[in-house]
Subunit: 337 residues, 2 copies
């Protein structure tokens, strides 16, 4: 069992309901359950209160299934942190914010951002773990991440949970968001909490605070994810943190041309760790859909793969466990309890 | 790693503040933190939000330290269920009731007992684990347990977290409780939820519901504790459950003459499992205080010891881990973070 603690920060926003923004669970009424189901998958290995395992119409499972598979092989303690869930989860959680994020096009996307950040900092400071790996699950999260990049004036691009990244839509939404907040590109540089309040989401606020608090107490932090975790890295840098930062993600994000992941990481002086699960070697539908560019990241998938790799767990074992869980949960046996 | 899920149900009541009722953390202002600290000890191995490790004036640690020691050796998933905490805990929790229990001498000790029981049933039904071990941490819990025995008309006696069991005080309090509720001994037989509402506490309501829900979905349930878990067994029997029931406790409860544990268990057709940690072989202060009859049970200690025993972990290893944790946490190093 690894000593690393794995925190999954879950929440929702109205931004996710903007038509065409996110693939995290197709329809809006399904999407609100995605973070809830991800938390239950990580903790129990199956949905308990949520209706089903999030899966795309073509059969791509939520990346939480990968994170769970790794947990079963590596054995880490999950800490589910709640920041704006729209539905309650059957997983035990630590709440740092009760209210879902608003539409970023509202004047304030996260009105209680300062309180969320402070509560999350307290949690981060209280852990005293040697290492903290932080993942996220929030539909529409790459759009709010883009908003934060813009507000801070960080040169960037963002990834997507859709094969065809609706980047122009995202940029249009973010422009409206900044305008509605009376901000413009770069006008919130050096003011991370204000940037999240204006154009972010509750999960970004919580991950930022959690990381700041942990780093302040000498806990090594790995930001597990793609675009959103780079946005958190930007928030940390603009908050004055000058130390080491690691972002662990998947090759699906790193290979996404629309997201200049490596350039952004370099610009933020972030150590980017990319771990390849080796799906090319398999013809399982889950492997195929991931390779096709669906659900490139999420629920700390990249960080989980990095943990497995570091603990000496072969990727073949991770793949086998993933497919096993997929078939058990989505093979019609008990996918929707 | 065992497949058993270990649920710790934590809460507080005004009953605990009655002078002389409980030893769970001496002064009332300290006692309200005992269940919070127990949850954090089980989950993190140290207090995070709570001020300190609960320890008696003479140096007897909370039994949660034993449960944590076993967790480190056996490796089970803890599920902290919240039912009426007075202070928020830094451990992730699943809440089935937000309100602390009242003084049992009020007309209704647990006004929202029906809602707590129903929410807990849903949790129990949703787990689908092969086995569920349930412990509790609620100061003053043996008095409310006595209230439930009386209301149901179950011949009983109860144990105490004090070397000298203030039984006459407890009986007087329970008589007042029944009178205030318009009930009398046995008048709530066959009505478990009403019995908890009248003279119980939120934790009894939650453990009862959790157990009913789990048993209804063929999850084997071990009630981990002494007097309070026998009260839950009584609630289950009066709720119509006729199947197997196991209560796993410590020799300190089983040997407590004032608590006719074995007789009560037999009367309820409960399989009583007693696991001896073998403290006689040690001169560590924790061992001495437990042998002296302080903190006889709590936080699922008896169930944890039974798990360790079943998993083939030698009691010597449990003792060593306990003393190690005790010295690290209470040796002044970081007992009060």
């Amino acid at each position: 069992m690894t000593d690393a603690r794995f925190a999954l920060v879950v929440g929702t926003t109205e931004t996710a309901t903007i038509d065409g923004i996110s693939a995290a669970g197709a329809a809006p009424e399904v999407m609100r359950y995605t973070p809830v189901a991800d938390a239950e998958l990580l903790y129990y290995g199956r949905p308990t209160r949520s209706p089903a395992v999030p899966v795309s119409p073509t059969g791509c499972p939520t990346p939480a299934l990968v994170t769970r598979a790794v947990r079963e092989l590596v054995g880490f303690d999950p800490l589910v942190v709640e920041a704006g869930l729209a539905e309650s989860t059957g997983a035990p959680t630590l709440s740092v914010g009760p209210t879902p994020g608003r539409d970023v096009r509202d004047p304030e996307a996260v009105p209680d951002a300062p309180a969320i950040v402070e509560r999350a900092r307290e949690v981060g400071r209280s852990l005293h773990d040697a290492e903290l790996v932080v993942g996220e699950s929030v539909p529409g999260g790459t759009t709010t991440a883009l908003g934060v990049f813009e507000a801070l004036g960080v040169a960037d691009s963002v990834s997507s949970s859709l094969p065809e990244n609706p980047l122009s839509l995202k940029r249009r939404v973010v422009e409206e968001s900044l305008a509605a907040s009376g901000a413009e590109a770069g006008s919130l540089a050096g003011r991370p909490v204000e940037a999240v309040r204006a154009t972010g989401d509750p999960v970004l606020a919580a991950v930022f605070g959690l990381a700041e608090g942990a780093l302040a107490t000498d806990t090594a932090v790995t930001l597990a994810g793609g675009t959103q975790m780079l946005a958190v890295a930007a928030l940390l840098r603009h908050g004055g943190y000058g130390g080491d930062l690691t972002v662990a993600t998947t090759p699906f994000v790193a290979a996404d041309d629309s997201a200049a992941t490596r350039e952004t990481a370099a610009a933020l002086d972030v150590d980017l760790v990319v771990t390849d699960p080796g799906f090319e070697s398999s013809d399982h539908v889950a492997a195929e859909r991931f390779l096709h560019g669906e659900a490139k990241e999420g629920a700390g998938m990249g960080g989980a793969l990095a943990l497995a790799d570091r603990e000496g767990v072969p990727m073949a074992a991770v793949r086998d466990r993933l497919f096993e869980r997929y078939d058990a949960l989505l093979g019609g046996e008990d996918g929707a309890p």
